[in-house]
């Protein structure tokens, strides 16, 4: 297990290096001369331009620029936003808790709906409960998030007046208001993923329920509830967990449309604004952070997979 961890962490280093090369490469392809943009009004002054170039190391050969950039990134310096005029790292750090909160809430909702629904539809395979669950899941997958979001705003905010239609309040400011502002977008995001989780849980459970060890568990005289919830589920969850971690990664990379609909100031909104304003350092910073989150979640999924699967734990 410890050996595996060391090996697995060792493997992510080349992955992250590759990601950094990719991002650095893209940066070179971006149109426009950063020095010109940063110089602003003084762009006519060659002295100012040279000074900026020297500051940003733009006058050095590319490979040196890459190494210098990488060192800066490692120190938490992601550059400077052209538009907001603040360090990118600071901008991202402001938005990260919002996206984390929204993503985790959506994920919890997805698990709470998707896994039990998958279990029920596997146990009641080819019966009305299964058809209903599958129908709802299909509807959940095919409903666009922004549409569901608008419908929820219409119902819960406009008609019933229960929840604020948009905006965000931080958890640290007022946790009730914070939950009230995030519950709808979290639900919208969560249901889409719940549908995917449900389908995976269902197929894994159907497979597990047909295994010989389930028959053994029944032959022992165990109640069907224990056979399902302990013997079958424990094995079925192994593939579902991996999938869940990847879905969480998707959530944390920012839900562009949903954040837009609910005016939640998270990653999604940050990226959209940055793209429209050609604020490339911000775009790069977000891409980098998201890539790192993805890689780490993958690692977490692998570790969980091993922890829950004794055959691998001892390997």
């Amino acid at each position: 297990m410890a050996g595996f961890l060391v090996r697995r962490v060792g493997q992510i280093i080349p992955t992250l290096l590759f990601v950094s090369l990719l991002i650095f490469g893209l940066q070179q392809l971006m149109p426009g001369d950063p020095a010109l943009i940063l110089a602003g009004e003084e762009r006519g002054d060659p002295l100012v331009l040279a000074q900026i170039r020297a500051e940003l190391n733009l006058d050095r050969p590319l490979h040196e620029q890459y190494v210098l950039w990488l060192f800066k990134v490692l120190q938490g310096d992601l550059g400077f936003s052209w538009r907001i005029r603040e360090p990118v790292a600071k901008v991202i750090l402001e938005k990260l808790p919002v996206t984390l909160q929204l993503g985790l809430m959506a994920f919890v909702i997805a698990c709470l709906i998707g896994i039990p629904a998958g279990i029920v539809s596997a146990v009641k395979k080819d019966q009305p409960a299964d058809w209903i669950a599958n129908g709802v899941a299909l509807a959940g997958i095919s409903t666009p998030n922004f549409w569901l979001g608008i419908m929820m705003i219409l119902l819960f905010s406009v008609h019933l007046g229960w929840l604020p239609p948009s905006g965000y309040v931080a958890l640290t400011v007022d946790w009730r208001q914070s939950l009230a502002t995030t519950i709808m977008p979290a639900f919208v995001l969560g249901t889409g993923i719940a549908a995917v989780l449900m389908r995976h849980t269902r197929s894994a459970m159907v497979q597990a329920m047909n295994q010989d060890y389930v028959r053994t568990a029944r032959a022992k005289g165990l109640a069907e509830r224990i056979v399902v919830a302990k013997h079958a589920l424990r094995n079925a969850l192994v593939p579902v967990i991996t999938l869940g971690a990847l879905e969480l990664g998707t959530l944390l990379s920012g839900a562009v449309l949903t954040e837009q609909v609910f005016t939640i100031p998270g990653f999604g909104k940050l990226v959209v604004d940055a793209v429209f304003n050609r604020d490339y350092p911000v775009v790069q910073g977000v891409v980098l952070v998201v890539a790192v989150i993805y890689v780490l979640l993958n690692l977490a999924a692998d570790v969980l997979y091993i922890l829950i699967n004794p055959r691998l734990r001892h390997a």
């Binding site: 010989d212 028959r215 032959a219 022992k220 005289g221 165990l222 013997h231 055959r311």
Partner: protein, 327 residues
């Protein structure tokens, strides 16, 4: 004396896409305490379906009719909760595939403890002690250490021993073993059969042994029931059956095992395969493969009739002794 397990006219049908098929058709037998009965027949004869019907573990598309009585209690009519108390408590079962019959996600010890705690009031530590004692009793070396091992760390033979420990841990009065050694190699087979015989002698647990291998039957059984195409075709004590088989199918099965008795009429191994329950032949179901077939066989269902003391066979030509004399 009421028998321990009494099966009367057991019939099992499955609802399938091509209509209802009757895989088991009128099986009857009874088992006295401490006795060991073998059910023999080729693949597809309905042996496992019979066993699963007794345990009420058949797939949802199955329907069992007839009667199964365990210590006088009607098993097919028992409530679900009563059935759970019987299963694993009074009647236990082990299966053909030791590699897949244990749950890979739990230690073997936990899986035995689970059975003990389901059927007794044992505390966790008592159950653990009992489980370790059972692991030792089925001759698993270093049982304390094995207790915490996951199934994938054990060989097939060891896993089958664990299955036996798990099945025996609540001291059932009947153990059904469905092809318990088929997946194991020959030396391990003999060890497992020896272990089962020993445990049944020590604890008085009766055994229903399901197999297609007459060699295995000879190792363990007191009595033998021969099944063909969902029906019982012959039943006798081990000795009688091996010495004087009276059904052509039994005789055919014996062609495939080492000769135990020189007087047995020798036939070549049986040609062909067991028909599917979707298309049982009319009359005697063995007729298409039987070397003794006559016209009557194809129209008339031969009833199980006494052919000797405690010996029944379902064949219009039985007893077959006159053929043996001619051969």
């Amino acid at each position: 004396m009421t028998p321990l397990l009494e099966v009367r006219d057991l019939a099992v049908s499955f609802a399938t896409d091509e209509g209802t098929v009757r895989a088991v058709d009128g099986v009857s037998f009874s088992l006295a305490p401490g006795r060991r009965l073998a059910i023999v027949g080729e693949s597809g004869c309905g042996k496992s379906v019979t066993a699963l019907a007794i345990m009420r573990l058949l797939a949802p598309n199955a329907r069992a009719q007839g009667s199964v009585r365990l210590e006088g209690e009607d098993v097919l009519a028992a409530s679900d909760s009563r059935m759970r108390a019987l299963r694993g408590g009074r009647i236990a079962m082990i299966f053909q595939e030791p590699m897949t019959s244990l749950n890979p996600a739990f230690t073997v010890g936990d899986q035995i403890v689970e059975a003990i705690r389901e059927h007794t009031d044992a505390s966790p530590s008592e159950a653990r002690a009992q489980a370790i004692a059972w692991l030792a009793r089925v001759r698993i070396p270093a049982p304390e250490r094995r207790f915490d091992e996951y199934p994938h760390r054990l060989s097939g033979g060891m896993r089958q021993r664990v299955m036996i420990a798990m099945a025996m841990a609540c001291r059932p009065s009947v153990l059904i073993a469905d092809e318990p050694t088929t997946a194991l190699d020959v030396t391990i087979q003999a060890q497992i059969l020896g272990l089962m015989r020993e445990l049944s002698e020590e604890t008085g647990t009766a055994i229903v042994l399901i197999t297609h291998d007459l060699g295995v039957v000879a190792e363990l059984a007191h009595d033998v029931l021969v099944m063909y195409a969902g029906r019982v075709v012959e039943q006798a004590s081990l000795d009688t059956l091996f010495r004087t088989p009276q059904h052509p199918y039994t005789v055919g099965l014996m062609g495939a095992v080492p000769r135990l008795d020189e007087e047995v009429a020798r036939l070549a191994t049986i040609e062909g395969t067991v028909p599917s329950p979707r298309a049982w032949p009319p009359g005697c179901r063995f007729a298409p493969r039987c070397p003794f077939v006559i016209e009557r066989c194809r129209t008339e269902v031969p009833p199980l009739a006494e052919v000797g003391p405690g010996h029944v066979a379902a064949c219009v030509q039985a007893p077959l002794d006159r053929f043996a004399a001619a051969a």
